[in-house]
């Protein structure tokens, strides 16, 4: 079995069996409170196939993604460890890839990371020895050829199922799918997109991905973030670069009584999930319910995606 899987993670096996995959997300806390993290993660158990663990997202210090991934493994939840190139050079990154593999982590999402000017340490020095594309290529080479960037031979290869992010909504618009293609060429086996609100633009992105043959080379997961409130929708629209939340969603949220806004947000998310899964080339859903993990079971259930396939990782 080993030969047909790059890493033999549950996520990889579900994709390769032709089933739609569902991933969630759980951000480690700003402190050493593991119980809080376990509590949030517990909502996602058996509801999603794997859980992304963010790596100091938005450049805010949190407990590290490798420790959080290990905690998930102990809980019987498969992690997708995120790793950004902002904070470590190639020595640190490769070392962490080896350490993560040694701990049994099998899914790795390679990112460049948000610039530190958005976080809680804008005075920090950033590293950027590599970018996300280089990291993908590096880990692929470590896994498939048993070599570090330097060419040094490894004793024991890290078996990692490699993922990357794609933002179909940033500019230049026509280049977004080409850049995703670069990530795939560099080693990305699955893609998780930025939160999708502009379905028309995502549809065009997927059409281009299909035309370029990218959907035959990789598994694309549509990123969904449920809108918790009108305030959140407005914030996303105004302040998150490249994220356009169409007015009709905001109008819908405004049109229901206050105590029904969250339910309406969930209804919208479920509709979006169905729309995305109906598109050719979409292999799954990446559900980023930011600080709303307790609502994930309800959303996945309402979307008709339960029960999840029973698959064991190698």
């Amino acid at each position: 079995m080993t030969a047909e899987y790059a890493a033999g993670s549950k996520l990889e096996k579900i994709f390769k069996s032709g089933q739609k995959a569902v991933t969630g997300e759980c951000g480690p806390p700003r402190g050493a409170d593991a119980e809080h993290f376990r509590h949030k993660a517990n909502y996602l158990k058996n509801v999603v196939d794997a859980v992304n663990v963010t790596d100091n997202q938005t450049a805010v210090v949190r407990f590290c993604s490798m420790a959080a991934s290990k905690i998930l493994l102990e809980m019987g939840i498969e992690p997708v460890m995120q790793m950004v190139t902002r904070d470590m050079n190639r020595i640190g990154l490769q070392s962490n890839v080896l350490g993560a593999a040694a701990l049994g982590i099998k899914n790795l999402l390679c990112l460049t990371g948000d610039h530190q000017s958005f976080g809680d340490h804008p005075q920090a020095k950033n590293v950027h020895d590599m970018d996300s594309v280089m990291l993908l290529h590096t880990v692929k080479t470590m896994r498939d050829e048993g070599k570090l960037v330097s060419g040094t031979e490894l004793q024991g290869r890290p078996r990692m199922f490699l993922g990357a992010a794609a933002n179909p909504f940033a500019d230049p618009q026509e280049f977004r799918v080409v850049r995703m293609g670069k990530k795939i060429a560099a080693g990305a086996q699955f893609i998780q997109t930025q939160c999708i609100y502009n379905m028309e633009r995502f549809r065009k992105f997927m059409e281009a991905a299909n035309d370029m043959g990218l959907t035959e080379k990789t598994f694309i997961m549509a990123g969904i973030t449920p809108l918790k409130s009108v305030g959140m929708a407005n914030y996303m629209k105004k302040f998150v670069p490249g994220l356009d939340v169409p007015d009709h969603y905001i109008t819908r949220l405004k049109g229901v009584p206050k105590d029904k806004v969250a339910a309406e947000g969930i209804k919208i998310a479920v509709e979006q999930i169905h729309e995305c899964l109906a598109l050719k080339g979409v292999s799954g859903i990446h559900l980023m319910a930011i600080e709303w993990e307790d609502h994930v079971p309800e959303i996945v259930e309402a979307a008709g995606l339960l029960p999840r396939p029973k698959v064991e990782a190698d």
Binding site: R86, R90, T112, G113, D114, H115, S117, F118, N126, H128, D129, M130, D131, S132, V133, M134, H137, T138, V149, A165, A166, N167, F169, A170, D171, P172, F175, V178, R179, G181, K182, A185, A186, Q194, P241, G242
Partner: protein, 223 residues
């Protein structure tokens, strides 16, 4: 050229607060062009220091001199007589200048009066921008002649990232153009967009500051 910005007067005053006699040394090179360290700025800073100290009741003797260049030992010699009785030199050259002064006068205090910010150039009257980080191995031809190492906040060689929106970088609150949009536009003009499909692998940074102090040697010019 090297771009600099004047240090705040209060910071310089604090550094020389216990001193009686100083020399303000300018440079006729880059800092004259970017208007922070030439003859004119030497005169202005010297006057400001004198006035401030006089107002504070503790007069400061300030001598003025602008070197031909401060990044060449032979032009530092011209300070010999001026510094003979001075407590310190405030150099308003780029940060190379004060280090040359230190090298010539081992027992003299030297303070920088300028913050050296970048290698760049003027883009309009009174505005200078960074264009080069001196990585030591120029590859801008791969990017339409534009430098993403310097001009992309994340130094992406496989950009643009998801923070490029309507031609602007997400860093800088809309004040910084996304260099990757400019690279894209430029390569489109040149009919070379295919270049952007090539995956750039890890760069060798050993030619950059990361490899240790850099020394350039031209054997044919050495004496």
């Amino acid at each position: 050229m090297v771009i600099g910005e004047s240090k705040p007067l209060a910071e310089i005053l604090e550094k020389v607060k216990d001193l009686k006699r100083i020399v303000v040394a300018g440079c006729k090179g880059c800092v004259t062009v970017c208007c922070v360290g030439g003859e004119k700025e030497v005169a202005i800073l010297a006057s400001e220091l004198r006035i401030a100290r006089k107002a504070a009741g503790s007069e400061l003797e300030v001598k003025e001199y602008t070197c031909e260049r401060q990044c060449d030992p032979e032009y530092i010699e011209a300070l010999d007589d001026l510094v003979a009785n001075a407590d310190a030199v405030v150099s308003i050259a780029c940060s190379v200048g004060p280090q040359y002064i230190v090298a010539r006068y081992p027992n003299l205090k030297v303070f920088p009066g300028v913050n050296t910010t970048s290698i760049g150039g003027a883009v309009e009257h009174g505005v200078w921008k960074e264009f080069c980080q001196a990585c030591g191995n120029c590859i801008i031809d791969d990017f339409g002649g534009l430098c993403p190492i310097t001009r992309c906040a994340k130094q992406l060689l496989n950009g643009p990232c998801g923070g490029s929106s309507q031609g602007l970088c997400e860093v800088g609150k809309g004040s910084i153009p996304c260099i990757w949009q400019l690279i894209y536009d430029r390569l489109q003009n040149l009919g070379e967009l295919h270049k952007l499909t090539e995956v750039h692998l890890s760069k060798d940074w050993s030619t950059s500051r990361d490899g240790g102090l850099r020394t350039s040697i031209r054997e044919e010019l050495k004496q």
